[in-house]
């Protein structure tokens, strides 16, 4: 890779690292694993950088790579012990004094992995239903259904308070 091209890569990745970490962390709920996912993603991005710079939506392209890394890891049960250390879907009583930001992370960890992926892709990464379906390799109908279920589950997991009440003022 030429030095100028490499600088473009470094500039892009450096600027996007906090966002990529956020997406990976909300997906897997573990900081070290999130770093591993991001590290693998930006390594693969280096390999494919020339191709990546020609796509219309570079952020979307990178988000898809990140989600593939996350799903690959999940699929192989290495992460099963971590994923299933949380309880099955059930409401979490919101405790006084708990920061909403922590509550969100905690609630997300209790969603099914597919639901979590849909929420992160659609609401954090701003992917369309179509792009989310492509990233997760499922149909648009599936994405819509998963989104509805995930939002239902999120409401119930975050207790009886409505999402409007949970917004940080």
């Amino acid at each position: 890779m030429r030095s100028e091209t490499q600088r473009e890569y470094v500039d892009y990745v450096t600027a996007r690292l906090p966002h990529l970490k956020r997406a990976a962390y909300l997906l897997c709920g573990d900081s070290d694993r999130a770093d591993d996912i991001v590290q693998a993603t930006v390594t693969a991005l280096y390999v494919h950088w020339q191709r990546a710079t020609t796509v219309d939506n570079l952020d979307g392209y990178v988000h898809r790579m990140l989600v593939r890394r996350y799903l690959d890891e999940k699929r192989h049960r290495w992460s099963r012990v971590v994923l299933t250390e949380t309880l099955p879907d059930r409401g979490v009583a919101p405790a006084d004094g708990v920061e909403d930001s922590d509550l969100v992370s905690s609630a997300l960890r209790r969603l099914a992995p597919g639901q979590r992926a849909v929420l992160v892709l659609r609401f954090l990464c701003d992917l369309s239903v179509e792009d989310t379906a492509a990233a997760l390799r499922c149909s648009q109908g599936n994405v819509k259904a998963q989104t509805a279920r995930a939002l239902d589950a999120l409401r119930s997991l975050m207790g009886t308070r409505k999402t409007t009440d949970m917004k940080r003022s």
Binding site: M1, Q6, Y9, V13, T14, L17, P18, K21, R22, L26, S31, D35, V38, Q39, V42, T43, A44, L45, Y46, V47, H48, Y61, R64, M65, R68, D72, E73, R75, H76, R77, W78, R80, V81, V82, T84, E85, L87, P88, E99, S101, D102, V104, S105, L108, A112, L119, F123, L124, R137, C138, S139, N142, A145, T147, A148, L151, T163, M166, K167, R168
Partner: protein, 399 residues
């Protein structure tokens, strides 16, 4: 969904507290360069790779009879850790696509390598359908009645497939597919959810049952009594695989300690597999012949290390070099295949104690991931992938 709810969820996700990234960009660039070079190296790749192997507790448990290790979780005494360096066998692997399976990730492979499954191979009307591949042809596995998706977990030498079907966001149940028919497996009273994780040549199936309280118990669906299910022991546990002689491996709880049961004495509590003193947690995920494979980990959660157990002697051996995932396949010689790893690093398979570098051939792939290794160690089946494309492949790796 209301627009303001969209905004609220979006704001919540952006506001969630996230630790700062700890990414080594220099390492990413160096690894990326290595991969680019490896991709350009061509169809056949033969290379040297190193796996550092640590042995723990071997001497302490030598002579323990198969399936009856006497060591408690945590190991016997001060399990020593010796470090040895293994060198590459220098062999070259040739990679070929599996014809007729399309671009899908390989899930389970039977012990003979004849049957290969992929869980999400066919998409139709909003649902993904699994397939089983045999003799160059992929056959769709019908979803059991009422299911909208299915995950394949294992297939035996006769092509019988087991897994977990789901219906709606909260339902899941164990099923078996054989002779062209998919059937839900029997439910244990009081346990509404189930998953089938392993099947042997006889047709004995092992898995989990769950109740509404979230209790997860190990169960067996014995081939000798079709339509029945019974519990393995009385403790919580997760069996993952069953050998042809009835040896069942898994964990107590879900990863609390690696565990072994025997199908011929299904009511017995089973026994722990040996673990190093500082890594008492673990799971055995695969079994074949005298060998089981999985991982061990620290009590607090933290770091996990790939592990292999000799069921005859009870000895455990650690493979810290296999860091891309735990072994998910083991052959009769104790060779291991693990989760997806960098194609250029050789940390995805171990043969004869030596890392095996899996070529990616013309597929421009970064990741090589073997699901199965033959008993003679010369054939592997798995997936190669670049950022967004999976290709199911077979490797031939002569000695």
């Amino acid at each position: 969904m209301f627009d303001d709810e969209y905004t609220q969820v979006r704001e919540l996700l952006h506001a969630a507290e996230v630790p700062p990234p700890r990414i080594d960009l220099g390492q990413a660039i160096a690894a990326g360069r290595r991969r680019r070079r490896a991709r350009h190296a061509g169809w056949v790749a033969g290379a040297t790779a190193l796996v550092v192997v640590a042995v723990a507790g071997g001497a302490a448990v030598a002579g323990t009879p198969r399936g009856a290790p006497t060591a408690a979780p945590g190991g016997v005494g001060a399990a020593h850790s010796a470090t040895a360096t293994a060198t590459s066998d220098g062999g070259a692997c040739i990679v070929q696509a599996l014809p007729g399976l399309g671009n899908h990730m390989v899930d389970a492979v039977d012990p003979s390598g004849s049957y290969v499954t992929s869980s999400q191979a066919i998409e139709r009307s909003g649902a993904a359908y699994p397939v089983v591949w045999h003799d160059g042809t992929a056959v769709e596995i019908p979803l059991p009645n009422g299911a909208d998706a299915a995950q394949i977990n294992a297939v035996n030498v006769h092509g019988a497939v087991v897994g977990m079907a789901s219906h709606g966001p909260h339902g899941m149940f164990a099923f078996v597919y054989r002779n062209g028919t998919t059937t839900a497996l029997a439910k244990l009273p009081g346990y509404t959810l189930s998953s089938a994780d392993g099947i042997n040549a006889t047709g004995d199936i092992v898995g989990n049952a769950f109740n509404d309280q979230g209790d997860e118990i190990p169960v067996i669906w014995p081939a000798a009594a079709p339509g029945t299910v019974h519990r393995l022991g009385t403790a919580a546990g997760t069996p993952y695989a069953i050998a042809d002689d009835g040896t069942i491996v898994g964990s107590r709880g879900d990863g609390d300690a690696p565990w072994v049961w025997n199908a011929s004495n299904g009511t017995a509590a089973g026994l722990p597999l040996t673990t190093p003193a500082d890594q008492p947690k673990g799971q055995a995920l695969a079994v074949r012949g005298d060998w089981a494979a999985g991982w061990v980990g620290e009590a607090g959660g933290g770091h996990l290390t790939s592990a292999r157990w000799n069921l005859r002697t009870g000895a455990v051996q650690l493979f810290p070099g296999l860091f891309s995932g735990p072994p998910r396949g083991v052959n009769a010689r104790g060779d291991l295949v693990t989760g997806p790893g960098e194609a250029s690093s050789g940390n995805t398979a171990v043969r004869g104690g030596t890392a095996l570098l899996l070529a990616v051939g013309p597929y421009r792939a970064d990741i090589a991931s073997a699901s199965w290794i033959s008993d003679d160690g010369t054939t592997l089946i798995g997936t190669v992938k670049d950022g967004n494309t999976d290709t199911p492949v077979r490797w031939h790796c002569p000695r």
